[in-house]
């Protein structure tokens, strides 16, 4: 092979490679980062629970849970949305004032899984009608559903001291 011919062949190969690279379909871009919006949606959902609890709207409260949700309380574990309904009903019927203070929300980069932590303050009245407040620490694991909504997969709470 002559020097010129060899050089021509090499440049042709290079040109072909450059062209094939350029002709490749657009590289899939990194998925959009939805974490800030996801965190806002979860913080809003925390407050939605407070609102539906105040309104004693059990169905609305239950709509925040995934079908296979797990409720872990210091008194014991409850598995499945149908079974969780009962303890949530108990919470609503007690007519307590509930406040939720979200302290941190950790969302996966892919926006499909999140750990939400904070405190729940529950105020009721004792037998003498005197207000009594107890504070619990909570850890909620949220999962994004195919429709884009966030549902609670695991709801853990226990009193703080």
């Amino acid at each position: 092979m002559s020097k010129r011919r060899r050089f021509f062949l090499a440049t042709t190969v290079m040109a072909f490679l450059s062209a094939s690279c350029a002709q490749k379909p657009a590289e899939p871009a990194a998925p959009p980062d939805t974490r800030a919006a996801d965190e806002a949606a979860i913080r809003a959902a925390d407050q939605d629970f407070v609102k539906c609890a105040e309104a004693k709207d059990l169905d609305k409260c239950m709509s925040l849970y995934a079908d296979d949700a797990v409720l872990l309380e210091s008194s014991g574990a409850t598995i499945g949305k149908d079974n969780i309904r009962k303890p949530i009903q108990g919470l609503l019927s007690a007519g307590l004032k509930i406040t939720v203070t979200t302290t941190s929300v950790l969302v996966s980069r892919s926006g499909d899984l999140a750990l939400d932590q904070g405190a729940v303050q529950v105020t009721g009245t004792d037998k003498k009608g005197k207000p009594q407040t107890s504070t619990s620490q909570y850890a909620l694991t949220w999962k994004k559903m195919p429709d884009g909504s966030w549902k609670i997969a695991a709801d853990t709470s226990a009193p703080l001291k």
């Binding site: 090499a10 440049t11 190969v13 997969a153």
Partner: protein, 161 residues
């Protein structure tokens, strides 16, 4: 001069190789979920082994710096120092047998956060030789660290009712 010609050719070939490599590198995120799930299972087993060996430092190495721990019938344990004290008490028995079953691990598509759930059975032999078995449900939230290792951000447990 043959030397010059082959040098020129090798430059051309190097460019070609660089182009091929450039084409092959896709910026789309890699799905690491299978490997992540295996790594989390291995970390969970290693934590149990460290607990059985009563190696407190090793146990704590599986937790993030700001973990939360929920154990049946007890207040929430918040922060690494508090978790360490609780672990120290847990390990201060004669012997431990820790078993888990039905573990399901959901790793976020981005491979940075994972949720593990399942059942546990802890058989504890106390200082006086009395043996008790506690069964319950667990939900752990794992967070991938900068070095690629997985650590527990939330270790939540509740006893079977």
């Amino acid at each position: 001069m043959p030397g010059n010609r082959s040098a020129a050719l090798s430059i051309v070939v190097s460019f070609a190789v660089a182009l091929i490599a450039g084409c092959a590198q896709a910026p789309a995120p890699v799905d690491t979920r299978k490997a992540d799930e295996a790594a989390i299972r291995a970390a969970g087993n290693a934590l149990a082994q460290a607990a059985i060996a009563k190696d407190l430092d090793k146990c704590m190495s599986f937790y993030v710096d700001d973990p939360v721990l929920f154990i049946p019938g007890s207040p929430a344990v918040v922060g690494k120092d508090a978790v360490r004290k609780t672990f120290q008490a847990f390990l201060g028995v004669q012997s431990l047998k820790l078993e888990t079953s039905d573990l399901i691990i959901d790793v976020a598509a981005s491979g940075d956060i994972a949720m593990e759930r399942g059942s546990y059975a802890n058989t504890i032999t106390d200082a006086k030789g009395k043996v008790t078995t506690e069964t319950g449900k667990l939900v752990l939230v794992w967070k991938k660290q900068a070095d690629g290792s997985w650590k527990i951000a939330a270790d939540t447990n509740a006893g079977d009712k």
